[in-house]
Amino acid sequence: MDQAPRPSANLQATLRFLGVMLALVLIFGACGSLFLGAFDKSQANSPGSLFDPGVLFGNVTHFLQQTVQIILEGKKASNGEPYRNVFLTGLLTTIQFCFLALPLALLFGLILALMSRSRLLILRAPARAYVEFFRNTPLLVQMLAIYTGLLFLPSWFLNAFTAGVATLVLNYTAYECENIRAGLGALDKGQGEAAASLGLGYFQSLRHVLIPQTISIILPPVLNDLIYMFKDSSILSLITIFELTTATQSLVRRSPSLGWEFYLIGGSLYLLLSLPLSRLARSVERRLKSVAFAPKGDLTVMALEVLAGGAAIGLLCGVLIEGFSGAAILAQLTQYLTAMLLVLTIMLFTMLVLGAIVYIPASLIRLWRRRNLPQSASGASQPSAVVAQ
């Protein structure tokens, strides 16, 4: 039984593998070329049936030729701008928005997660109300409400850029809050108690004990959220921000005879970024599960560095779009800070309003319950509450 496989069996396996590969190439090639031929035929209105191999071959080569021309030679639009640059600008804008928004969302999400773990109802109620509200309403509607509903604000404070960043941050804060809350909840309760018994304060135990352990738990979902944000940022095209979807669609509008080529390139650019990212997220997840995750150095500081680096990449993309100069850098920074201010304003306002809507009835119910409790029960619950504190 232990002997090596006979050469004929080996040959058979190789042949089988080759056959499967051949069948794969044939089927994918046939499907792909039919699609590409149909795309080309619908644009060029060329005569002939697609099931005629010669016609199909001609259509497919024409299509591929034009695609390659757009990518390599930078085939030019009527105003002299190469199509390639339009795509690059769009891609950079998409990356810019994602990298500017996600670090902020994580920071605000941490604050909200701590608030929603608090024992005080007055802190917990606004955070929970905020999270449930933003998770249960469409991102698109939130964006339109912010951009067209707040028109009374001055234009330096509310423009397409700040509104776009603010929408992404506000929405993703809710999701990151849930991630971080789940991560903190997954930790052993003894961790916090041990930190307290060592004499660490609330923030010290967070910084040195709880957050470093949470990071390894929340890293995969946060990476997944980055992919989601990368795709969700396409809605910014509705508020006149020139990101990848806008770029693609504007090119399609400008020269409809190349429409499918543009869609193909735009879609592949999205795939080119999101597929490696999802592979990365999966491998990170497997790695964190399999091996004891014990990096050297202070994890909290490392995480802050990564966040700052992400924001810096975002700013850099913005500067690259504008053209590299001191004024561009300054403008980017100011706009980013303005966006932060807008986020804070809207967040505080929503938390105040929604928190009041939730807090007032909740505390009234609590008061009513306490009054209706029998005397002995309330007397018994009083000392235990003191002990718990």
Partner: protein, 251 residues
Amino acid sequence: MSAFWNTYLLDFPNLVNAAILTVVLALVAGVIAMVIAIPVGFGRLSRVTIIRSLCTTYVEVVRGTPLLLQLLVWFYGVRILLLTLFHLNVDIIAYDLLTSLNSNSLFPKGGVTGLVLGVIGLGVNYGAYMAEVVRAGILAVDQGQTEAAQTLGLSRLQIARMIVLPQALRLMIPPLTNNFITLVQDTAFLQILAVAELSLVTQGFIAGTTNATIRWGFYVNELLFYFVICYSLSLVARWQERRAARIAAIA
């Protein structure tokens, strides 16, 4: 404030109609998505390399590109493609269908191309996400079930239909409900195809006024509608999750 209430009460039936249309669109798209998702979910676990790779390609491509871009492709690409290659006009088909039912006065003035293609696009998009849920559900069913069914002499198709799928569906209900919540939210995307769902109808009322009170009244109404639909669904999902956990604890 009274200016707001006057317009709001007048337009409230339209808003409710739009909200109902939103839910109906989500339901239709969800059905299309499930019809795609179950075969694709099984196909991703198939032993046949070709089926597996085709299904994986579909899932990865759809999940890797944004819904907005896909809807634009459906409306500006596929519509033209159908028109030039097959002389297929969705509007004409729908009109003829309604005529044969003696009710073509129901045909909306703006046409139904955006609605039909948009719902198909949503369904195809969510089919990929739900296929992943189906795959995870199938993998979560104990391997012993399949082996026991094999010893009983059931064929592979019978095993999938009678043994694996019923058990997997029970596991899939909470994640499918979560997917359906995002599907309801994503019907807002259909407004770019001029489908008169909740978001577009509200946007129409808002564009007609500069009064900030009226604008925010409509926004609050719209957000509240979405919130009520999605939050009640998320409560259902949570309840189902607890129930599944309880069943798992007993079993």
